[in-house]
């Protein structure tokens, strides 16, 4: 591989060699919590026993994305993809696959949608419609080995920037690429950099927003854990472009692995002179500090984030002035999301044209989503902008499990909106989603099936916002609680039609009277569910009925006499002694005593318990 960097020997080319013997073990947070670290250790011990450790590399990698099936192991050459690998399976893999050259059938991915067993990584349906240009190193490189990143053309972009480009050219290239901020709002990154460059005041700061807080979202974490150098390289380039010498990565403390990998990566870059004084022999100096956040959702808001770095309570400031004019310590600052920075080296290295050729005209590039909820294949996905929601849900996600019907998809987390069936064919990009009444957000995507109560769904996000409001603006602080109370009344069967009016009134007041996006967008999940599923709200209020059969106060459990063989399992499990009936005779539930816990339904082997 051609490299222009002054340390050509640091790169480890094995990472690009398809014939290189390697067992890659996912060491992202998801797989690590399913014992992949032990698995990594056991694999090494097994290889040791066969004196193969020098010959076959056991590599820890970042996230493969298919977290639901973790821990993931990929054995090369051949890219055999193993799922749900326990440490005790290490022996089998080594003996059967490595020594015996036979894939371990029982560890291969079994696709529930096609009922087929798939052997190769890229043959799995989950990856079919994905286009991994941001996560292209995740699952391939060892994130704690800078040699791997260098071999993947890492820091080439930085070298190019420092040796051939002016800051203005860098900004122009990024602007040209059409990159829009991946934190959610989709503001053009190059334009933002231009603002920060223009402000004639020093020092300036480059800030990476890694305070990923949406429930169920882990895109940024996976990037930091799987490819930390890309983020660092992007930040250094941003520093050069705007004229900053210091950078901060604001990462929530709940991401210890990401923080550890960042620390390792920063140390390695400093050792190679890629960070610090006179980077790569140029007159440009830059360094990065990690600031751990204490887990407040609102600190993902850029001004609250900067307040937090300053050691203040994480509360938003009014804008303007914008950070590009007066940000951290009242100095010009540029705040971007993790993914935005990670795209930058790729854009510089491969060119703005390459980037804008992917995705749509208005939203170039790819989108990374944490796909979760009622979908067959969950995990981290990267898809080109412009793909339809239907393709994501059915082709990547493999459809809705259990033969149930799709109901809604929520994007943008607790500040986003949900879209029903009729919107499934709209393209996924910043503008189309917004037009449809939802938002792109930073990458959370929750799928709800027909058994989901949309009032309950909205309540979940509203509860989250109630807990996470910083408390500064009364509309958000008190309004969100009043909103939650209205939703609680509805799900508890005490709702009135006036509650719907109150919800609209609260939503309007919160939107108008809150300082930051948290308060302004907090009503979005409620309003979008109300817009698309008003019937469901009305059923709760007017008929005291939960159509999805989820709201405990509005449902009754019944036993269908024809189906009940009188096995007594439900009666034995019922904590409130609400089920009666002789052995061998159909049982009956007393609705007065029933606590509606649903245990009888869960334990019945004959599907005789139904919800009304």
């Amino acid at each position: 591989m051609h490299t222009t960097l002054p340390f050509p020997n640091e790169a480890d080319p094995t990472v690009n060699d398809p014939q290189h013997k390697c067992i890659a073990v996912c060491m992202g947070t998801g797989c690590t919590s399913s014992q992949s670290a032990q698995l990594h250790q056991t694999l090494r011990e097994e290889l040791d026993e066969h004196n193969l450790n020098g010959e076959i590399e056991v590599r820890r990698t970042g996230c493969f994305g298919f977290c639901e099936q973790g821990p993931i192991v990929v054995v090369s050459p051949g890219e055999t993809f193993y799922t749900e690998v326990k440490p005790r399976s290490a022996e089998t893999i080594v003996e059967q696959h490595v020594l015996g050259n036979q894939p371990v059938e029982r560890l291969l991915y079994h696709d529930p949608t096609s009922d087929a067993t798939v052997e190769k990584w890229h043959e799995i349906g989950f990856y079919g419609k994905q286009q991994r240009i941001l996560l292209d190193n995740s699952g391939i490189i060892d994130p704690e080995n800078i040699g791997h990143y260098l071999a993947r053309e890492g820091y080439q972009a930085l070298h190019q920037v420092l040796s051939e480009m002016t800051p203005e050219q860098v900004i122009e290239e990024v602007t040209e690429s059409g990159l829009r901020g991946r934190g959610g709002a989709g503001f053009p990154t190059g334009v933002k950099w231009g603002f920060a460059r223009k402000t004639q005041k020093w020092p300036k700061y480059v800030i990476c927003n890694a305070d990923e807080g949406d429930p169920g979202a882990f895109m940024d974490r996976s990037v930091l854990e799987g490819d930390p150098h890309a983020v660092i390289e992007g930040m250094i380039i941003a520093g050069f472009a705007i004229g900053a010498q210091a950078g901060y990565i604001y990462c929530r403390a709940e991401y210890p692995l990401a923080i550890k990998r960042l620390r390792v990566a920063l140390e390695q870059t400093r050792e190679l002179g890629l960070l610090g004084d006179n980077i790569l022999g140029s007159d440009f100096s830059f360094d990065i500090t990690i600031k751990e956040g204490a887990g407040a959702f609102v600190c993902g808001e850029e001004t609250a984030l900067m307040a937090s770095i300053q050691g203040e309570r994480g509360q938003p400031w009014p804008r303007p002035p914008y950070p590009a004019v007066s940000g951290l310590w009242k100095q010009p600052s540029n705040v971007n999301n993790v993914k935005s920075y990670a795209f930058v080296p790729r854009i510089i290295h491969k060119g703005a044209e390459w980037f804008s050729s992917v995705g749509t005209e208005g939203s170039p590039g790819t989108a990374v989503f944490a796909l979760t909820g009622n979908v067959n294949r969950t995990g981290l996905i990267e898809v080109p902008m412009g793909i339809t929601l239907r393709e994501i849900i059915y082709d990547v996600g493999g459809g809705i499990p259990g033969g149930k019907k799709f109901k809604a998809v929520q994007t943008g987390g607790p500040l986003g909106g949900c879209l029903p069936e009729e919107y499934l064919d709209i393209p996924v990009d910043f503008d189309s989603l917004q037009e449809a009444g939802s938002v792109m957000g930073s990458g959370g995507m929750v799928i709800a099936d027909e058994a989901t109560c949309m009032v309950e769904f909205a309540k979940f996000f509203t509860k989250f916002v109630c807990d996470e409001s910083c408390g500064k603006c009364p509309p958000c602080r008190i309004g969100s609680t009043r909103m939650l109370e209205a939703l609680e009344r509805i799900t508890e069967g005490e709702g009135t039609p006036e509650d719907l009016d109150e919800i609209y009134w609260l939503a309007d007041g919160m939107q108008q009277g809150s300082l930051c996006a948290l308060g302004q967008l907090a009503p979005a999940p409620v309003i979008s569910t109300l817009r698309h599923f008003e019937d469901e709200y009305r059923a709760h209020i007017e008929e005291e009925r939960c159509p999805a059969g989820k709201c405990q106060a509005l449902i009754t459990f019944e036993i269908v006499a024809d189906l009940c063989p009188g096995c007594m399992v439900c009666a034995r499990n019922c904590a409130s002694n609400a089920i009666s009936g002789e052995k061998g005779e159909p049982h009956v539930i007393d609705p007065e005593l029933c606590e509606r816990c649903g245990l009888c339904e869960a334990v019945c082997n004959f599907d005789a318990v139904i919800v009304k």
Binding site: A296, V298, R313, P318, P320, P321, V465, C466, D467, E468, S469, C470, G471, K472, P474, P475, R477, I478, G479, S480, T481, R482, E485, W505, D508, G509, Q512, G513, L515
Partner: protein, 341 residues
């Protein structure tokens, strides 16, 4: 509450932070701005006690005024409300009722930006956000020096002067502007007088020297004014006065019993008054005694037998006179000044 409509701007803008720009058209009472203010006020009322009838600051409450001005109706209770203990803090000066707190952060800023003590801050998030001293400690454990700045800035009845609770509301007191007698800084403030008695001290925004700022002595150290032990006439030891028994009997002077341990009674069986007993006299008599003793000592030992200590409570002019008296009348240069409280 500061939101205004700015032409061509997206949504409402905060008047307090949005910079003025050339050609900007601002509407302060636009329909949208007023509706938002009404919404904010109604939200605050849904978590505020409806007790203006008994509230200390009734008539001097920003929330009350705004609710009145914007015609917000009292919202029927329909959800969670905070129930905080009333006056939970053991400090002697600041009365706290967090149920009335609207979390405006004025107290936090007053303490941080004016007083530099950083006692107050907000803890917890969302609806649970709460004003706390230090790490939710008693105020005095959280560096509080009891200046009462937080009380002065509280727009509602959440922070109030503990010594004044129940003694008179704004419309029941007369405000008398005065200068603090404690030190030479010359702070101005308003004595709140009800039925001829000082019931509270409030900051005077237009005070030229100190503005809203006061120290603990100025704000809370007024209880000596009406104290029963306060001396209003001079006391002189009986032995320095002529014809003591006679003039006490005639009622011209008064024998003052001071609570102290004495070996002998102040008045013996034959009606003689002990020499060290205190006699309340008039200023002329007392000053004669002092002048006589000064003259006698100066004659006997010369001026340098004296040393003089002046007070910072005096004005410049008074201290000048003191210096002149010391050097020219007493005849010594030994004069100093406490220059501190």
């Amino acid at each position: 509450m500061c939101v205004v409509s700015v032409e061509k701007a997206r949504g409402l803008q905060t008047a307090c932070t949005t910079p003025v720009a050339e050609g900007m058209i601002v509407e302060t009472e636009s329909e949208a701005a007023c509706e938002t203010r009404q919404f904010v006020l109604e939200m605050l009322l849904t978590d505020h006690p409806n007790d203006c009838m008994t509230c200390e600051v009734n008539g001097d409450c920003k929330l009350q005024d705004l609710v009145y001005d914007y015609g917000v109706e009292w919202p029927e209770p329909n959800g969670r409300r905070h129930v905080y203990p009333i006056d939970p803090d053991p400090n002697p000066f600041v009365f706290i009722d967090l149920n009335k707190c609207i979390l405006c952060s004025r107290c936090v800023r007053a303490c941080e930006e004016i007083q530099n003590r950083d006692v107050w801050s907000f803890a917890f998030r969302g609806f649970e956000t709460k004003l706390v001293a230090g790490t939710d400690q008693p105020m005095l454990d959280a560096r509080c020096e009891s200046c009462g700045q937080c009380v002065a800035y509280c727009p509602v009845g959440a922070l109030y002067d503990k010594m004044s609770v129940g003694l008179g509301r704004p419309n029941q007191v007369e405000k008398v502007r005065t200068t603090c007698s404690y030190c030479g800084v010359g702070c101005n403030f308003d004595l709140n007088v009800r039925n001829g008695e000082i019931v509270r001290v409030t900051s005077a925004e237009d005070a030229p020297v100190n503005g809203m700022a006061l120290c603990v002595k100025g704000r809370y150290g007024y209880d000596y004014v009406h104290h029963r032990d306060r001396l209003t006439r001079p006391l002189v030891r009986a032995k320095w006065l002529p014809d003591v028994e006679e003039r006490v009997t005639e009622g011209e002077w008064t024998l003052v019993e001071v609570a102290e341990k004495r070996a002998e009674p102040t008045v013996s069986g034959n009606g003689a008054i002990a020499g060290d007993a205190f006699i309340e006299t008039d200023w002329g008599t007392a000053l004669d005694v002092v002048a006589g003793k000064f003259a006698k000592e100066k004659q006997a030992q010369g001026g340098d037998a004296f040393s003089v200590f002046a007070s910072a409570k005096c004005t410049n002019e008074e201290n000048y006179l003191f210096s002149k008296f010391t050097r020219q009348v007493l005849g010594t240069n030994s004069i100093d000044h406490c220059a501190r409280l």
